[in-house]
């Protein structure tokens, strides 16, 4: 009798071969990739979390844990963020710049986006390209250029501006515009021309169609742009630093830069940094959430991709 189709003897199962099978399983989760991602996240975030933790330290040390306390936030009458005039002023000036940037860059950016989207003919390619230049220019180069323009150039509009809050606002608006344009344009592209055409077909003049149909549809993109401008402005260091004039124009990032390595600082500086992180997180997070909840799925996805791309660029 011939042996037909008997299964070959399976090799003995050792611990090593079981582990190899577990790793090589094609239906298993991508464990190596997941591990690499978690490791990277830990590496990037743990220092930030540590800094936030030490803002709640009981003693003056920023590296040795001495217990939990909120004295550096508003407890301590001299040194806490709430009481120390330097720190409080840095906070309020940051907020002031952020609100101004938001209020100026968003309407200008929306108008610019609409204009660029409708521009047909010569020059539109160049204009579109120029709009993206601030996004890719190194911030230092832009800051130095602005510095030279405001201090050395004696042509009228530039000569009227001295370094200080005005210059800081102008500098921040200059690069915020590009972000607003990118966000609004991507939303415009997903809306398409049909709604406005339908409105015009039904009797609305082009301006009326814009006001009653397009702007309501753009609302989530406008709101998201405002929040992004806010977050960008609060975060910004280079341009704000170069455009500043005296101690009165200090913002949170500028203060952190100047004092973080000094010896006579308290965990109040950690508290200030935590405020910075929190505000930025809330700003970007709210922008995401708004974009996701409004509009159809595909539109939300395009715009959130644009926003996340920008957030990554800025980070």
């Amino acid at each position: 009798m011939t042996s037909v189709g008997l299964p070959a003897r399976r090799p003995p199962e050792t611990a090593l071969s079981r582990a190899a099978a577990w790793i090589r399983n094609p239906w298993g989760r991508p464990r190596f990739l997941a591990a690499a991602t978690w490791l990277y996240l830990a590496w990037a975030l743990l220092p930030v979390l540590a800094a936030i933790l030490f803002s709640f330290n009981d003693g003056r040390s920023r590296s040795v844990w001495q217990g939990f306390s909120i004295r550096w936030w508003w407890g301590d009458p001299t040194f806490s963020v709430f009481h120390d005039p330097t720190l409080t002023h840095a906070l309020t000036h940051s907020l002031e710049l952020a609100v101004l940037d938001m209020a100026i860059a968003t309407p200008l950016g929306v108008i610019l986006a609409l204009g660029l989207a409708r521009w047909r003919g010569r020059g539109s390619g160049t204009a579109n390209f120029l709009m993206l230049v601030p996004l890719v220019t190194p911030e230092l180069a832009m800051a130095v250029a602005l510095l030279l323009v405001f201090t050395q150039l004696s042509i009228v509009p530039f000569a009227l501006v001295n370094l200080g809050t005005t210059a800081q606002v102008i500098g921040q608006v200059t690069f915020s515009l590009s972000y607003v344009v990118v966000i609004v344009r991507s939303r415009l592209a997903s809306i398409g021309p049909e709604y406005e055409e339908a409105a015009r077909d039904l009797g609305a003049s082009p301006r009326q169609a814009l006001r009653t149909v397009l702007v309501p549809l753009l609302f989530p993109a406008i709101l998201a742009s405002m929040l992004i401008c806010f977050a960008l402005s609060i975060d910004d260091f280079v341009v704000t630093q170069y455009m500043s004039s005296d101690a009165g124009t200090t913002t949170i990032p500028m203060y952190l830069y100047a004092n973080a390595r000094g010896g006579s600082t308290t965990p109040a500086i950690n508290a200030l940094a935590t405020i910075l992180v929190l505000v930025t997180l809330i700003g970007v997070g709210a922008a995401f959430a708004i974009l996701r909840s409004f509009g159809r799925r595909t539109e939300a996805r395009d715009t959130t991709e644009a926003v996340s791309g920008l957030a990554a660029l800025e980070a």
Partner: protein
């Protein structure tokens, strides 16, 4: 042209396109079209994608400016009139219902610009919604409606403004087959009830045939033929029109001689007689016969005239009909369509058959001639003409 006809063409939503052309950076989308649509007519522009029918519609609506020629409605030249001031409304292919307004507000949108009181606007919008049988859905939002319901809202939104002309850009394209068939009947009934001129753009020839008073078949920016559905289907004037409308069994033939009733054709070793089309032509030509006119006979005895032997290539069962594809002895493929009457007619691959092509079903075409198109339009206008 009689005065009667002329009066009909300058009242109640009559459209005239005079030498209308549009090109985009060198690409000619619409090539010198001349068209006259009567008031109250249901006119379809039929053609494949990219033939220029949507561009023509947009030119009438006012979204594009003509490169040459003019658009006239009721005799008035609209070339300088912007879209929002034309008495023309459009139903878009994707409906374009405003997502931030509910259904009633969508329908009442156009009335905002007509300075009606809020109560009047509400009343008219509700009436329009009742006209399309959507009264109960007034407070829903567009994303909550089905495709067919959205389409009706788009219709109501356009009709509430009582335009002279309604433009429809493939409005039934996004719906499934059953709803499409039902809406075809409803749209036609609506048009008859309201009495407005409908200019309907589609690539679906069944839609155009079933709904239109007249059809204009477009190809590469020009109109190949204008006529009633019967004219366009049964007496096509060009190969393109014959091929686009339904299945066209086209054969290359040589026209040899003609007499009082028709002409003699030579195809391969066989002779055929055709009584329809350009029977005075000579030389190389094409002949077209519709599948429902092709008769299949058994191969026995002496074949009657206009019969060609062939072999069954394959059969296609589509429920209501059986399509039998036959390869003729001349090498050409011919499709015959047999109605499903319940009696079993079994044709299998390889069966030898005799194909009878009745002489009045064979139509001779001598290619795509402009004179042929103009001749057809003249016939359509002339109530006494009967040339076939």
């Amino acid at each position: 042209m009689s005065d009667e006809v002329r009066a009909e063409e300058t009242a109640g939503g009559a459209i005239e396109l005079r030498n209308l052309s549009k090109d985009f950076d060198g690409f000619v989308a619409v090539d010198a079209i001349d068209l006259r649509i009567r008031g109250g007519e249901f006119f379809s522009l039929l053609g494949p994608s990219g033939c220029g029918k949507t561009t023509t519609l947009r030119l009438v609506a006012g979204f594009e400016r003509p490169s040459a020629g003019a658009v006239l409605i009721d005799g008035a030249d609209l070339s300088q009139v912007p879209a929002h001031r034309r008495n023309v409304n459009t139903v878009f292919q994707s409906y374009a219902l405003f997502p931030h307004l509910d259904v009633l507000e969508n329908v009442a949108y156009g009335l905002r610009w007509q300075r009606l009181s809020k109560a009047d606007a509400r009343r008219r919008a509700t009436e329009a919604l009742d006209l399309v049988q959507l009264g109960e859905l007034a407070s829903r939002r567009p994303p909550q409606l089905s495709g067919g319901q959205q389409q009706r809202v788009a219709l109501a939104r356009a009709l509430v403004l009582r335009p002279a002309v309604l433009l429809l850009d493939e409005p039934l394209g996004a719906l499934d087959a059953k709803i499409r068939k039902q809406l075809r009947i409803e749209l036609k009934a609506l048009q008859e009830e309201v009495g407005i001129t409908f200019l309907f753009v589609t690539h679906d020839q069944e839609e155009a045939l079933s709904m239109s008073d007249r059809i204009g078949v477009m190809n590469e920016g020009r109109i190949d033929q204008i006529g009633t559905p019967q004219d366009v289907y049964e007496t096509p004037t060009t190969v393109f029109v014959a091929d686009f409308l339904g299945v066209a069994n086209l054969m290359s033939v040589e026209a040899v001689s003609s007499d009082a009733g028709g002409c003699e054709l030579r195809v391969g070793d066989f002779r055929l007689r055709a009584c329809s089309g350009d029977t005075s032509a000579r030389g190389e030509a094409k002949v077209v016969v519709r599948p429902e006119r092709v008769e299949i006979r058994a191969h026995d005895g002496t074949p009657p005239p206009n019969c060609l032997p062939g072999m069954v290539d394959r059969t296609i069962y589509v429920g209501s009909n059986l399509h039998v594809v036959i390869r003729l002895a001349t090498g050409a493929l011919v499709q015959a369509s047999i109605a499903n009457t319940g009696s079993v007619s079994a044709y299998s691959q390889g069966d030898p058959v005799l194909v009878h092509l009745p002489d009045d079903a064979l139509r001779l075409l001598t290619g795509d001639g402009d004179d042929a198109a103009r001749r057809t339009e003249a016939v359509a206008e002339d109530p006494g003409g009967a040339a076939r």
